[in-house]
C-alpha cells in the first residue's frame, strides 16, 4: 500500500512546491521585515518538519529499546536522517533571512541555538550508526531517546540564558493574508516528509534483508 502511495505523495508534494512560489510572490510583504520575510514560508515549514522527525525518531528509538523490533529501528534511522536533512535546510535558510532582517548571519537565541544542537544530536546519531560497528542499532536507539528528552531542556536553558540579553525577535503571529500561503507550504512539506519516510524506511528494510541474505550465504 505504501509503495503505491509514495509516488502519489511525491507528485502531490511537487505540485504544492511548484505552485508555492507564485503564492509566495503574491503574498503581502511583512511590515517590519519587508520582502525578505517571504523566506519564512519554507524556513518555518522545514523547522516544523524537522521537529516532527525528531519526535518520530525518539519514539521509534524507545520502541526499539523495549521490543527490539526491526521496523522500529528502520523508522528511527529514517527519521534521524530526515531530521538532519530538514535541519540542514533550516540552518541554511535561516542565516540567509537573518542577514537581511537582523544584519547578522547568526544569533544565539533559544530557537536558533536549540535547532543547531538538535541537528548535531541527530548527526551524531548517524555517525554512530555508520562507524560504531556491530550493535550500533541499540546504541543509536539510546541516543535517539536522549535526543528526544534533552531537546526541550536545551531550548529551555538557552531561552533563560538569552533572555538576560533581550536582543532577538519572536516570530510574529501571522496575519490572515499569509496564513493560507503558509498552510499550503506546510502541507507540501508534510506530504513530502511522509513520502520520504516511507522511501527511507523501505531502503533500510531492504538493506537489512540483503545483509541477512549475505550472512545466510556465508553459512
Amino acid at each position: 500500500m505504501m509503495n503505491r502511495l509514495v509516488p502519489v505523495l511525491l507528485i502531490a508534494a511537487a505540485i504544492v512546491f511548484g505552485y508555492a512560489p507564485f503564492l509566495i510572490r503574491d503574498s503581502p510583504a511583512e511590515d517590519t521585515m519587508g520582502v525578505v520575510f517571504k523566506i519564512f514560508y519554507f524556513h518555518v515549514s522545514s523547522a516544523l518538519t524537522m521537529m516532527l522527525s525528531a519526535i518520530v525518531c525518539a519514539v521509534a528509538s524507545a520502541a526499539y529499546l523495549r521490543r527490539r523490533s526491526r521496523t522500529a529501528d528502520h523508522l528511527a534511522l529514517a527519521a534521524a536522517e530526515l531530521a538532519v536533512v530538514f535541519g540542514a535546510i533550516v540552518l541554511i535558510t535561516g542565516p540567509l533571512w537573518a542577514r537581511k532582517s537582523w544584519g547578522f548571519w547568526w544569533v544565539w537565541d533559544a530557537r536558533v541555538t536549540s535547532t543547531l544542537v538538535m541537528w548535531m544530536m541527530f548527526s551524531s546519531y548517524l555517525l554512530l550508526r555508520k562507524y560504531a560497528g556491530v550493535g550500533s542499532e541499540t546504541l543509536s536507539a539510546a541516543v535517539g531517546v536522549f535526543a528526544g528528552v534533552m531537546s526541550p531542556l536545551v531550548y529551555k536553558s538557552v531561552d533563560i540564558w538569552r533572555t538576560q540579553h533581550p536582543t532577538t525577535n519572536v516570530l510574529p503571529s501571522l496575519p490572515p493574508g499569509m496564513r493560507g500561503v503558509w498552510l499550503w507550504c506546510l502541507v507540501g512539506f508534510l506530504m513530502l516528509y511522509v513520502a520520504l519516510m516511507a522511501l527511507r524506511t523501505r531502503l533500510a528494510a531492504s538493506q537489512a534483508a540483503l545483509d541477512d541474505l549475505h550472512l545466510a550465504l556465508e553459512d
Binding site: I39, F42, R99, W102, F104, V107, L199, Q207, L217
Partner: protein
C-alpha cells in the same frame, strides 16, 4: 494597507524587532537572498530524493540477484 498594519499590530503582542547592530540591513538587496534560500531548499530536497531513489534501486536489484542465487543454490 492600513488593514494589514492593523492586523499585524493586533497579532504582534510579543514581537520585539531586532533593530540594532548588524551591517548592511538597509543596503542589502533582499531578492537574491530569497532566491538563494528557495534554491537551497529545492536543491537539497531534489538531491536527497534522487540519491534515495538510486540507492533503493541498487539495493533491491542486488536483493533479487542474491535471492535468486540462494534459490538456485538450494
Amino acid at each position: 494597507m492600513p488593514l494589514l498594519l492593523f492586523a499585524l499590530a493586533q497579532g504582534q503582542g510579543q514581537f520585539v524587532p531586532f533593530t540594532g547592530g548588524g551591517v548592511g540591513q538597509e543596503t542589502l538587496p533582499a531578492t537574491p537572498l530569497i532566491y538563494a534560500a528557495y534554491a537551497v531548499v529545492w536543491l537539497v530536497l531534489l538531491f536527497y530524493v534522487f540519491t534515495l531513489w538510486r540507492k533503493i534501486g541498487k539495493v533491491e536489484r542486488e536483493l533479487k540477484d542474491v535471492a535468486a542465487r540462494v534459490r538456485t543454490g538450494k
